[in-house]
Symmetry: D2
Subunit: 287 residues, 4 copies
């Protein structure tokens, strides 16, 4: 693999101690790496240190294939969770949908323009509605209808398919089924959902109706990693839009769709650019 | 009372029917009133009609003193809730505070610049902390310490004082006591609170801490009318500010203070300019 | 034409005088019309009155075909500019594009979902790039390449085509040619442009580059009616997004595209819903 | 000076090269400093590197008094512009005002609450209007009336006074005089102005009137360093607020005041916390 124009990105978290930035940046420097970007954060409550550092692999003294082995001893000394990503290895992302098209449309359009540097080998749905949209963008579409009776079995088939396709991350683009705990556990902090409210307000079903009935003056959308607890996973991105008494429930939904599209896109961008670290039930998003 | 330069403002709600706008505007027109501003809204769910209309009293054929009697028959025919306000009658507003000064400071400063067209005959507190701030702005400050034992009795004293001062509305500017049901019932849709979260998220105590622990990316503030149910009254105004993982709890509080000041001020402005109508647990705010 | 479920919308401006709201609403009331929505505005500087009022044609005592004749005398008395639109007559909108697809994609997608109640009989471009996108949405695409030499002649052909298609309004969705004065004069306040800056900042060419070089912390987009003066027409809608020193010029363009899409869509919505009135070089947009 | 609980903050810019982060962080690490926060940025257009790094002086092996000498050799090798600030040395800030009180009020109030970690030894004005506000906060107020004839002489007196008071930075809180080039040159990137528009739109006089007449849908405020070119200095912070056709010029000014207060406060915060680096006519603001 050619290292020219390649960038390496280290994401690491470990207990905080003196010298972490110095020693990590020294690891890069002594191998002739030029740091392109470095962001770090210390969570003083948990005493944890988080870093994202990217460097140019052009001229780096060791090959990308040997990177993990070379960095291993330092990481073990720091008792770190860590991963090194290479810019030419695009994340492989599966998108799950049901009937609403706006989020899928947005992701596929942006992917088509090159704005989202990921591969989309697979769209999975429990309905046929969006098959033609997938076809328009030439992406394989697989349907698994879900009932309470067949859910376990169908999820196993889906997971096989995900493994065959070496999927790194899953985006739930208004997928209207709750994934089982086993499914979620197989992709920790790698399943991204969009919830159509400003969480924790209006979790659960029909958030626009809830918002309409409560009479809020602002509605929101939230993108988060999926955990076993519904709508409780670490939040990656949120945004809002102002509404008024003139807005009907239908208007709320229409305005909300614009939010959902943008918020989900930003969360997916941050994830595939390796800008998100999870800290308990919170996230650190380096911009 | 001189009617030159006076403006009359009618706030009215009633069951919707054909001809309401026409007949109300005709009432004004046939008495030589020039409509300055008219906003109306129909809530199709409840079938209710809401209107705010203001007109110039200069040249109006009946005096402000006779206005209510003249409009009465129409209002009865419409089975309306209604009230006519006159611009030279400034609302008399009491402010309740505890220890935090930012909301009080903001209200008093804006009042001093003439931006808030209201009288503030009285500041009531359960602590002494803000007495000197009240003194600086020359506003009477009365302290009523509240304990579970004396609460009922103290509230009665407060209510006497409010009545003596002919108070029209009460602003809870970070007042850290819950008012009793009896107190609230005496001022329906006339007590304005500021809650330091984006309601309905993080109702109850310590909303900034709750937001910090949940890891939201945006915090908010909400101003609402007080009802018997804590943090559940009709929302008048909300706003938000973006935060990140870098923000400590202390930062959240600091950023939130700026929100609270602005949101409460806007809600108070809307109320004293007679721009708010209550529709069940929602509000209509005409801008 | 069946009047059931039809709505009439009157847009009117005239010199302000006493009784306008009363007499207009009475015109509707005495013909058994139920007012659905009424917004008015008086510009005290110019002394002009502006109104948008919509009513239910179901049960109205005169047919939609006779509406204009019936309202004529009142309008003449008021010396008004006015127009009555009927909800079942969808505006016919032509879209002009060049090479950038994002604005066209957004309009076509929203049109496809039914969110934009207009017909799009025609897409005109000076390049071939977006022909397949037009084809995907089954909309006729016509190419007129423009050079300094052929511009006059090509514009005449375009105008013939617009007339044949009975086009009511034109949307310039990042059309990279300046229309001639004659062309603009043929569609006064009916050509909507999107400019990729917060006007009046960065008018003219390369606004993102200008913004990048100036080091602003916020970028914007502006949708306005086209007049003879470049980027000087009445503004319909603007919005902004925050940027930082980390944003490259390419990032600015990417973030800006999201703005352009939303701002243009909102302006087109307001126009086709007959919510915009022009007041000199300013607009009144009733929400 | 006790180093316990002290923080050192290095601000540095230099031509980019391999190893800068590593060598700077190593300088801190080998002296037992614990890095609290590190932000860096490379401007690929100019080839310049910018860094802000803060560390705990508690346990640091050299005293704060010897810091600059110790770091000097590295800085010279990098051909860097740099400065080390110590958290216990609060910046000394003079505020210049004229007649508008809102920005001064905001700064003094926040200073009083401890939110702005700076000393304010001096308020300078060309009018008497705000003398009592300064007195209320116990800050010396000095009046220098300015005419075209006496301007040079008065500025010299002001500058003497600033030097006597060892002023680090100057905040123009709606100061309605243009400072001379000589004055500006004496405080490069240390004079912070608030302009009441979204620069570069509406530079010069009466920006609210300009905005009102142009019919923009959003107004803004901009805080920037003062240079010899009016309204052209590096922008530190901007923000905006939405307006509509209903807003009179007076309303614009009122809404704008809220913006000015917030934007100026944020810019001053960033400056006194040593978060701003100037890059030509742009700024880098580390949050």
């Amino acid at each position: 693999m050619n290292q020219h124009n390649a960038t390496a990105i280290l994401l690491l978290s470990c207990p905080d101690r003196v010298g972490l930035v110095s020693r990590i940046s020294h690891f890069i420097f002594e191998r002739q790496g030029n740091i392109l970007d470095l962001d770090e954060h210390v969570d003083t409550e948990s005493g944890m240190f988080f870093i994202r550092v990217s460097w140019d692999m052009d001229g780096f003294s060791i090959s990308s294939g040997d990177l993990e082995e070379a960095f291993g001893p330092l990481a073990r000394e720091f008792r770190a969770d860590w991963k090194i990503h290479l810019s030419y290895e695009k994340p492989r992302v599966a998108i799950f949908v049901s009937k609403y098209e706006h989020c899928l449309q947005e992701l596929l359009w942006r992917h088509g323009t090159g704005e989202l540097a990921m591969d989309i080998p697979l769209i999975i749905s429990n309905h046929r509605d969006l098959e033609s949209l997938a076809a328009h963008y030439d992406i394989p579409f697989r349907m698994f209808s879900i009932t309470p009776e067949n859910k376990k079995e169908q999820e196993l088939k889906e997971r096989s398919l995900l493994e065959e396709n070496r999927i790194d991350a899953i985006v739930l683009a208004r997928y209207m089924q709750v994934l089982s705990q086993q499914f979620v556990d197989a992709y920790p902090n790698r399943i991204i959902n969009i919830h159509h409210s400003f969480l924790p307000a209006f979790s659960g079903g029909n958030p626009y109706r809830q918002a309409f009935q409560r009479g809020v003056k602002i509605i929101g959308a939230t993108s988060h990693y999926v955990t076993g607890e519904l709508d409780e996973g670490p939040i990656i991105e949120q945004d809002i839009i102002r509404i008024s008494h003139k807005d009907t429930l239908k208007n709320l939904m229409r305005k909300g769709r614009d939010l959902e599209r943008l918020v989900l896109t930003r969360a997916v961008s941050s994830h595939i650019e390796h800008r998100v670290l999870v800290n308990g039930r919170k996230t650190i998003v380096f911009n």
